[in-house]
């Protein structure tokens, strides 16, 4: 089992007095601590045009994180492949891989928010095929010393050249690991065919994770791949305190507020897949999808996710807006010393060899 921190967006927050500038100071402080106490990775997400939680270029922010850390892997969950030219994404990820000496994990998604497609002038209805083509372009751009691509949405390069190669190449061979952010069965199965780990949305219930892990494993087996060789990441809200009461006192209100915003966007569902409205969200109803409490409680919940959903890699979101920085840092420390220490052992090897 390995543990990552995030995925975070750069949420506006009133908890510090330096305004938005404090976000980076806090993020870099968390990154330094995570690097020192043994978190495996730090993750950022991509969001556009939002007054809250906005990070339009996660790879660029991770470049700042790279300079203040040595071991931490740098992940995106996820970069939206449909909004930028895939060659630009391949270039940025390769440069970050060099800057960080091979620490990049590129999580990719097809995009969701209609507002983003509208502003970028991209046909949302075509996002699935754009996503598939973009993935193919990126893997080829990273690995080929001469390549061209001609699809429905992209032609690279637009005119023919005797030799065309995207440079520089990433440090990791054959290329940085790719994780596929997925919600629907098609994308989950595609991730399995590609041989890339699939990462579910933070808002999925344990029941949904279990069901979808089943789809993924079946598709892996059908593609002739060994399920045990592929990472099975899960994103959860995590907060560790000395006592249940303390953990809940710090984290419950900020988490509920955060999830009510998700619910307004229509992405919070119950186990049966029914959408939950913001007024339906109570701690009793949501609490079982959060890992909040004493170290013993969190440990127990992690083992449950491991058993039920085959989780091998936990992405811990501890930086919920409204939780003070000192409490986040304390929770990170408690998590590594009192929870993760009981779950030592290498995670499965993550194959990076693509068959895109």
């Amino acid at each position: 089992m390995r543990f990552g921190l995030g995925p975070y967006s750069l949420s506006d927050d009133t908890r510090n007095s330096h305004g938005r500038r404090g976000l980076y100071a806090d993020l870099l402080e968390q990154a330094r601590l995570a690097d020192r106490i043994g978190f495996d990775s730090l993750w950022l997400s991509e969001h556009h045009f939002e007054s809250d939680g906005c990070c339009p270029a996660p790879l660029t922010v991770l470049a700042a994180v790279a300079t203040v850390t040595r071991f931490l892997r740098l992940g995106t969950a996820t970069v939206t492949l449909t909004l930028s030219h895939p060659v630009r994404i391949a270039e940025d990820a390769a440069v970050l891989d060099i800057l960080s000496d091979g620490r990049v994990i590129l999580g990719v998604g097809a995009g969701f928010a209609e507002e983003e497609f509208r502003a970028y002038g991209v046909d949302r209805a075509a996002r699935d095929t754009i996503f598939q083509e973009a993935m193919e372009v990126i893997v080829n751009a990273w690995t080929k010393t001469n390549f061209s691509f001609s699809g429905r949405h992209f032609r690279v390069p637009v005119h023919d050249f005797p030799v065309f190669a995207v440079t520089p190449k990433p440090v990791q061979a054959p290329h940085p690991p790719v994780w596929v952010g997925a919600f629907g069965r098609d994308t989950i199965e595609r991730a399995a065919r590609w041989g890339f780990p699939y990462v579910a949305a933070a808002t999925e219930t344990l029941g949904a994770l279990q069901r979808k892990a089943g789809w993924y494993s079946e598709a892996l087996a059908a593609a002739g791949r060994t399920p045990l060789a592929v990472e099975m990441p899960v994103i959860r809200e995590v907060f560790v305190g000395e006592t249940e009461a303390e953990a809940r006192a710090v984290a419950a209100e900020p988490l509920l507020r955060f999830y009510r915003r998700y619910a307004r966007a229509g992405v919070v569902r119950d186990d049966a897949g029914r959408r939950l409205g913001p007024e339906e969200l109570t701690w009793e109803r949501l609490g079982d999808r959060f890992l909040v409490g004493t170290p013993a409680t969190c440990l127990e919940r992690i083992l449950e996710y491991e058993r039920a959903a085959g989780m091998t890699y936990l992405l811990c979101r501890m930086n919920t807006p409204g939780i003070p920085q000192a409490a986040v840092l304390r929770s990170m420390q408690l998590f590594m010393s009192e929870v993760a220490s009981h779950l030592a052992g290498p995670a499965p090897w993550t194959p990076t060899k693509a068959s895109v």
Binding site: V61, A63, R88, V95, A119
Partner: protein, 339 residues
């Protein structure tokens, strides 16, 4: 006069191969040294799809340089604007401005290599017109919230760029120019004109400075913002400057200008002889030699109207040790004369 330092393209050439990770690490060390020596800014340079790994991701690298420094400005010299999506650029520049807490300088140019436009799905023929439209979009996106724009190439309807840039009214911009039209455009927009390393004292004094001045005054803008970048080979002796600086630099120019077919013989083939007359102007364009010679050359450009000099200390083949040494020597001996 203000001084910048750089200019990192992160190239690992066949003559001077280097591990890419080392190139980026050394650039960060050099930027940190520049900050401690009192340079005003540090700079990166962009190209795409060249075999030596020339850096394609200046905004990402600027974020790294900003995180590794505290006070020095971080600039792109130059970002090839019409090869990119302007909305994406508006967002990412704002982000870098935020990460650097308002220390970002967005220097832009048009670019010229057909491969780069073709590889990024952009039309090279419309680059001039598009880049003009893009600059208008950027300024709107940074100063109006939400912004709308209807142009020939790009249109946006009520888009709110987040985060908002730190600098007001918007991040500082420089416009690269090698021609009359772009120089006038910079003056008209009220942004500095950024001249290339090939320019001579004579050309700056008689052409760019008066041209920019006149156009800027006509639009009520500051008339003196003529900025320049130059290759620097400073050393304690002429011989050292030649050996450590000029020699690798000439090889770089011959390879690049030949490889990109800018300097060709009568058959259209690259000229590989470093001593060919076609390369003599380039050799003469360097600010090179002992501190006194460098002071004289910089003073001549200052007299010609240059207010800001971005020193190209780094180039493929100049060792990290020599670059660090040059940066110290230049800061100790040349910069005090222009304080």
């Amino acid at each position: 006069m203000k001084f910048g330092a750089g200019v990192w393209g992160m190239q690992s050439t066949w003559r001077y191969p280097q591990r890419p990770t080392a190139l980026y690490r050394e650039a960060i060390e050099e930027a940190q040294l520049a900050e401690s020596l009192g340079y005003h800014s540090v700079w990166t340079t962009e190209h795409h799809f060249w075999y030596d790994g020339y850096c394609p991701s200046l905004l990402l690298v600027s974020a790294a340089l900003a995180a590794a420094t505290r006070t020095i400005k971080v600039g792109t010299g130059s970002f090839l604007l019409p090869q990119h999506n302007p909305l994406r650029v508006a967002e990412e520049v704002a982000l870098v401005d935020e990460i650097s807490n308002g220390r970002f300088i967005f220097g832009v140019a048009q670019g010229y290599r057909p491969e780069e436009f073709a590889g990024l799905g952009q039309d090279i023929r419309t680059r001039g017109k598009r880049s003009e439209e893009q600059m208008r979009i950027l300024i709107k996106a940074w100063t109006e919230d939400p912004f709308s724009f209807t142009g020939k190439y790009y249109s946006y309807d009520r888009v709110s760029v987040r985060p908002r840039p730190v600098q007001r009214p918007h991040p500082e911009m420089w416009l690269s120019s090698t021609a009359e039209a772009t120089t006038k455009r910079a003056a008209r927009m009220g942004v500095p004109v950024y001249l290339s390393p090939a320019e001579t004292v004579e050309r700056v004094r008689t052409f760019y400075t008066p041209l920019y001045r006149e156009a800027a005054l006509a639009h009520g803008n500051e008339p003196g913002r003529v900025y320049l970048t130059k290759d620097i080979n400073i050393a304690r002796s002429e011989a050292e400057a030649q050996r450590e600086g000029e020699e690798p630099l000439m090889k770089m120019y011959v390879e690049q200008l030949g490889g990109w077919r800018f300097v060709t013989d009568e058959h259209g083939e690259p000229i590989e002889d470093v001593n060919h007359p076609r390369y003599q102007d380039i050799r003469k364009s360097f600010i090179q030699g002992t501190p006194q010679r460098c002071i004289d050359k910089v003073a001549a450009f200052a007299d010609a109207g240059v207010e800001y000099l971005v020193c190209r200390f780094h180039a493929p083949g100049k060792t990290h040790a020599y670059v660090m040494d040059m940066m110290r020597l230049f800061a100790d001996t040349v910069m005090p004369h222009f304080a």
